[in-house]
Point group: C2
Chain length 196, copies 2
């Protein structure tokens, strides 16, 4: 059993070991190859995902076929398309494994049942969405306050994993620019570095 998930749950909810065990047993495992999708537009997102290993991203596809990635998640991270998950409507995003990944998924139906059975799980649900909210808000502020170059520097500073493990054209799409532009930003920064 995945020890990290165990620990995270212990920190989030005050349950006995036995209760946590039975909670974890509700998760099912999925193995994804690099490039496989966890969710595609039009599908309703009925699960909460815990990334045991690997890396996923979610992205929107615009009319002209461009991909705009919203976020990357690595091992021990949580994700779900809350827009679809909460509303029950078909989603508009794609969730893609960009590395071979092992995903533990928990069905919304099980979560909702847990809410009813034990109010302590309400806290779990609230923490999930609070955490998601704060992350989305930070991302918002970065679009609002920073230029593409600043966003890239910030990304390197605060989330080196992304720059190390994710393809540059995916990073570009995360920053809201084209791969060519990211390439030029990187060159610009190199020259500044060596020049100073």
């Amino acid at each position: 059993m995945p020890e990290v998930l165990h620990q995270q749950l212990r920190q989030m909810i005050r349950l006995s070991e036995a209760e946590i065990e039975s909670f974890i047993r509700l998760f099912t495992i999925r193995h994804l190859k690099k490039g496989e999708n966890l969710l595609i537009p039009g599908e309703i997102c009925r699960h909460l995902f815990f990334i045991r290993s690997g890396c996923i991203r979610y992205y929107y596809t615009s009319d002209n076929g461009e991909e705009h990635t919203g976020q990357f998640f690595f091992e021990n991270g949580w994700y779900t398309d809350f827009e679809s998950y909460l509303t029950g409507k078909p989603g508009t995003q794609t969730i893609e494994a960009i590395e071979a990944s092992v995903i533990m998924q928990l069905a919304k139906t099980d979560i909702d049942r847990l809410y009813d059975e034990n109010p302590l799980f309400e806290r779990f649900g609230r923490l999930m969405i609070e955490q998601g909210f704060l992350a989305v808000k930070r991302r918002n502020a970065s679009f609002l306050n920073e230029s593409p170059e600043e966003r890239y520097l910030e990304l390197m500073r605060t989330r080196p994993k992304v720059v190390e493990r994710v393809a540059l054209h995916h990073i570009a799409s995360y920053l809201g620019i084209k791969p060519e532009s990211l390439s030029r930003i990187r060159k610009r920064l190199q020259m500044q570095d060596s020049g100073s």
Copy 2:
């Protein structure tokens, strides 16, 4: 007593009229003149706000003194700086009344007490943050997927109130551009309109 607030609460939580009355009594009223602030950077946000009349915006101030407005809220809308409210840490945003406004505020201490007293209020808290989450997510997607001009058109289409009531330089700062650029976008659109 504000009838709209009454109605909204009735829709959100299944409480008796008496319970709702006593809930509403927890709110206190604040009158703000145009330009007055509800919250400034460095302060901890300890309240949830319901806008009874008027209009507020929240914005971040960057190092060079530029304001970047995150969102506008009108009468019958809810807002709080969740980042500060949830974490209990000093916030980084300013909440400003951009019209003379009447605000009903509810203290976090009261809300937390209600959570304990009656689990039905958990639902209120969850709806608040879910609603905020979805809004921020939409805004995020608009930055990711749309150009400034498209964002402006979208704003006119979906939230005409903003374009009608808010100063153009505030709208520009909401769109992530300079007032001069918004002025040119508007001119461009006018010419296209009359030309077609």
